[in-house]
Amino acid sequence: MLVGANNSAKSTVLEALFLLPNPLRQVPYVKPDEKAPLRAASLIHEIHRTLTSAGYAFLLYRYIAEKAEVSLDDTSLEFVRRGSQIYLGTNKPLPESSYLRIPEKLNIKPFGSLATSADTIGGSDSPHSEVRILGESLLISSELVRHAWWYMHQNWANIMNTGITREVAADISRLVSEEFVNITIEPFLGGNLSMFGFLKDGTRIRLGDLGAGVQVYITARILHEVAKPEFLLWDDVEAHMNPRMLIRAAEWFSELVDRGVSVVITTHSLEAAKIIGELVEDARICTMTLRDGKLESSELSPDEVERLLSAGIDVRLADTVIV
């Protein structure tokens, strides 16, 4: 659990872990206005989009750094800027066909590229989107729910056939006052399609008319079934969540951890951290501070967080004094 002040790079850590397997891979999100499938880097770009800004320079420190690197254990992903391109390299061996053939001399063998100031990705016809240098990671955020629904819309047959929609509907029924039996996509007024919660009495409620916490939980469960990630990354997990829903989400995290999935969440809520700390064995809390572009973090156990609270010290306000 990553805890820290606003702008302490918590979301950046999640985004970096999301990019790490391969920024060019397709992810289970679709851009709503264009109905175009998104790649990992494009999804992060969507989150960061400001007015008409374009391109991937935001991946580099202050937009002008020559290089950036994301590392986890022995896996490393490098971003090297040359002119208007950011080339992607890794320390992991890849099939020869994955590498780009570019005349420029780089200190990496690039397997793909991103433009600094245009929304273009790729570089050649190499199968760069198939490359994986780490197990799959899935990013969940309430901001991305609508992007996920469009992905589900385009892949509904596959999703339905997994049985996850019935499972999630039953799960949600235990948390809200209505009894759902399934999630469906059906015509709505004027013949336009919509996603529904299908109730036991045969009536339907559009997902968009359900509470925002329910929406994000349903979305996370379905996307998880699709992506089967090794890393589940959830930004601002407490957003829109009633404690009842949060406890269920924490129970789900616990089940995932038992199955070997690494769950990384960010939160501004100590209540959320306590609930998750209580339900997920060996949960750890990292306080994070960003100083002059350098990230500092300290790891605490939920018990230590509780003891500090008893001493009047809230780790969210004490980020710069925690060692």
């Binding site: 002040a5 500090l308 010290i313 710069t320 925690i322 060692v323």
Partner: protein
């Protein structure tokens, strides 16, 4: 010296009191929202500490920042989590402010000493001023100073000494009282505000809170 509150309730309460009693500008001069702190002040559980201690720290000047916390348990109970605090908070000096209540000073000293020994803290103590004791502590490989500041004035004739002892001297013609906290609560709000504003005069504040000035000043010196 600025203060950086480490608790949400303390931060909100301190901000509100400082803004209402003095000004928003004074609040921002005294309270620090960001920045590093190398010392920690553990406040007593009363309402008065929240406003008096920031004013004293303001008079102490300096550019340093002290973190400030209000533990759940008052007085010696504030030391319950000292091990975790020392391990996890990067403060070399920790000031504990507590009301004397009806205890003898020696009795409080013994209780603090016993508590430290129970936590396997080795220490040397010296009384640097009346009602200010400095414990030079070693816990494992960690060294720190615990500065105990006991609130209460001997010239106030009460059975239990409290931080309000220091304030009621500014109340002109006070009614009969046997407890300074009770008197402080009983007087008109305008009088309380007037007294608190009087603390902005450094000399008056120093005279009223001598042990607090001495003890908190120890946080500054290296």
């Amino acid at each position: 010296m600025k203060l950086k509150p480490l608790g949400t309730k303390l931060k909100a309460g301190m901000s509100k009191k400082l803004r209402r009693t003095y000004s928003a500008r004074f609040r921002s001069e005294v309270i620090c929202d960001t920045g590093d702190a190398d010392s920690l002040v553990m406040l007593g559980d009363g309402d008065v500490d929240d406003i008096v201690i920031p004013v004293i720290c303001h008079h102490l000047n300096g550019t340093g920042i002290a973190a400030v916390a209000k533990p759940e348990h008052p007085r010696i109970g504030a030391l319950n989590e000292l091990q975790t605090v020392v391990k996890r908070v990067g403060a070399d000096k920790i000031a504990l402010i507590m009301d004397q209540e009806g205890d003898e000073l020696a009795q409080i000293g013994e209780q603090v000493g016993a508590r430290l020994r129970r936590m396997n803290v080795r220490f040397q103590q010296d009384e640097v001023f009346a009602k200010v004791v400095r414990y030079r502590c070693t816990m494992g490989s960690r060294r720190f100073e615990l500065i105990l500041i006991v609130s209460g004035r001997e010239d106030v004739r009460v059975r239990a000494h409290k931080i309000e002892d220091h304030l009621i001297r500014f109340i002109q013609n006070p009614p009969e009282f046997s407890d300074s906290k009770e008197l402080w609560r009983r007087v008109d709000e305008d009088i309380r505000k007037e007294v608190l504003r009087k603390l902005l005069e450094e000399e008056a504040c120093r005279e009223a809170f001598p042990q607090h000035f001495t003890g908190l000043n120890l946080l500054k010196s290296h």
